[in-house]
Symmetry: C2
Subunit: 387 residues, 2 copies
């Protein structure tokens, strides 16, 4: 039995009944899943999760699928939160954690969102799924669609990492390489969903990927003993993880599982594609599209994100920050993290360390802050950057 009460627009607040296959609100903004939190509170408490299934589905009352056996799962989530003491000393922090999302199925954090989205798409009888992707979301959709026995049509930039193309092809997805960026792919997907009736699982254009990503926040709280760190540093492309974690924090506070204190939320972007950083510093409510986006961190090559206004709200209300780092800094910090802790991270993951260094220099971070970095994927998906 699902605890979902409605879908609600993140902007105009209009509500929709659940159990229908929906994309955006009629106003064009993302829909968010709302739960009957009173009923959840009567059913589960923080202690309930101990000994449950070792995946994000351990929090199934706070996820949209009515029954656990309806989840399309490969064991995603409940990834390790690794204390990085050597790295902390190297950069001058007392307490540093890395949430290691590389050990997800498909070797990236995208597994969470697509596990949730494909589960609901199957349940609500979508037939054919389609997605625009900078790379890792494509690999995850291909895998979960295969697991669900569904057809997937994937649109990626032509210069996507070879790992992403190969993983999609092996899983039997239909792959189209596009001369352009994820936003160009998104336009094709929107057109195809109109003309072919395919269901568009673009992040925040369907309501469930963010629910999967939300579990990052639930896990962080459980793994830290139902408290949160001082600062979270997150590499931001579409930003669904940032928005999802914040949603999780609000739900956990409403349930009485955590108090009202929040981490300062930091968005890290690539110098070659930093629309959120630019908008944050310019005091804008929404971000302008970034022209000529380019970075080795393919997951950060997102010139325009539909959830920009939600991200900017969170960064500001948490007294957080937004910071851009260069490709050279990311490359350097892939190496530093590997040599210090044995984790071969993605350039997006390394970007969070590059950001932390700069924020220590600027005084935004103090050496006493407890900081969590998110490594969103495995360096093994970026072998083309190394030789």
């Amino acid at each position: 039995m699902s605890y979902v009460s409605s879908l609600q627009c993140s902007s105009c607040l209009r509500r929709y009944p659940p159990n229908r296959l929906l994309n955006l609100c009629t106003c064009g903004k993302p829909l968010l899943v709302r739960y009957d939190l009173d009923r959840i509170q009567k059913s589960v408490a923080p202690g309930s999760f101990l000994g449950r299934v070792q995946s994000m589905w351990r929090y199934h009352e706070l996820l949209p699928v009515p029954r656990l056996d309806q989840a399309v799962s490969l064991g995603e989530g409940f990834t390790p939160l690794i204390e990085a003491a050597r790295l902390a000393r190297a950069i001058g922090l007392a307490k540093l954690w890395i949430k290691d999302e590389s050990v997800n199925p498909t070797a990236s954090f995208k597994a969470r969102g697509l596990s949730a989205a494909v589960s609901m798409a199957r349940l609500l009888r979508a037939q054919i799924l389609t997605i625009p992707s900078a790379g890792n979301a494509a690999g995850a959709l291909a895998a979960y669609a295969a697991r669900a026995g569904m057809e997937a049509h994937i649109f990626m930039p032509r210069d996507v990492p070879p790992s992403n193309r190969i993983e999609c092809e092996q899983s039997g997805a239909h792959v189209t390489l596009v001369d352009g960026l994820i936003t160009d792919c998104g336009a094709i997907v929107a057109e195809k969903s109109r003309t072919e009736g395919w269901f568009d699982v673009s992040t925040l254009k369907e309501p469930y990927r963010i629910e999967g990503k939300k579990t990052l926040g639930l896990e962080l709280a459980e793994q830290l003993g139902w408290r949160l760190p001082d600062v979270i540093i997150y590499p931001t492309g579409g930003g669904t993880g940032l928005i999802g974690m914040w949603k999780a924090f609000e739900e956990m506070e409403a349930l009485g599982w955590i108090d009202s204190r929040r981490p300062r939320m930091v968005s890290v972007q690539a110098a070659g594609c930093a629309p959120i950083v630019e908008a944050f510093h310019a005091g804008k409510r929404e971000a302008d599209p970034w022209p000529d986006a380019g970075t080795i961190a393919s997951g950060l090559r997102v010139p325009r994100a539909i959830g920009d206004f939600l991200m900017l709200d969170i960064l500001r209300s948490s007294r957080g920050a937004a910071i851009a780092v260069s490709d050279d800094e990311m490359r350097r910090d892939v190496g530093l993290i590997a040599r210090s802790e044995g984790l071969f991270v993605s350039p997006e993951g390394a970007a969070t360390l590059s950001g932390a260094r700069k924020l220590l220099e600027s005084g935004f971070l103090s050496p006493q802050d407890e900081v969590v970095l998110f490594n969103t994927g495995s360096g093994l998906k970026y072998l083309h950057l190394f030789s």
Copy 2:
């Protein structure tokens, strides 16, 4: 407090006190860790593990490190056991599981053994570690040595997968590429350990990697509710996982956690390097070195294994089998597993499916058997095989 009572030779049964840095027995055969099982039985029971740390260290009483905080860990082990219903139907089995080792740190099962070995090497004050490797063990040693702050010297075949070389270099290991196979690398490592005093962590030449691998068997029992499947199909290079699982089964039976029934154990090798298969069918107690070993499954390119006699004993006493499959069969089954279940497996992992098909044809497997396949690593480490 450690429950280790002694190290015992697997062949001549001579015993050694624990807490010394040891390689082989004086007779030249592998040493195995023996525990005070009576004392363990008084401390833990199957129900004790529920809610413990989500890594192989949840079984720390059955592992050699005295205190949990002495483990050099990146969250290895406790990987998902995935029911593969679609794949089962495709090949004609009623119940098929895949133990997915690709979601370990360093994306392979080698993380388990090296986490245990590096933990003990650090504890027993080894200074510098060295290893011969077909690829994935090297990546794991590089990572755990970095995590432990130790120096690692790695010797691999020159034509090792690029992923393995890159992951080692990023983690700061000293990498030497050798014109030859893992056995040639092993000869260099043996020489270096004599002349330089480096500690040799070759599998089964030090006693703790097998303890890490043993947790595969503990997890299988816990994940199936403290029972075992009918058949285990395992891709066999050095064979440490096979030997380790069997050791776990014996320890669990002595503890009263499982009964005396055992799975039939199946070793799958590559047609281009099948010394165990050859010896099994020839009725030999040990295997002859395989000449001109060659296969795309780099982890199976092990022409001679020091634990050959242990593997052959297990295959026979479990009424198991040994079977060789071709590189083409592995390539085909990488695709079939990805399209059926969304798992992008290594060629070694795919080999277990190729083996299962043949064993169904031969009648060794019946459609009613409950079978577990081991996917030992991620297909992402073998991108060079796909284009």
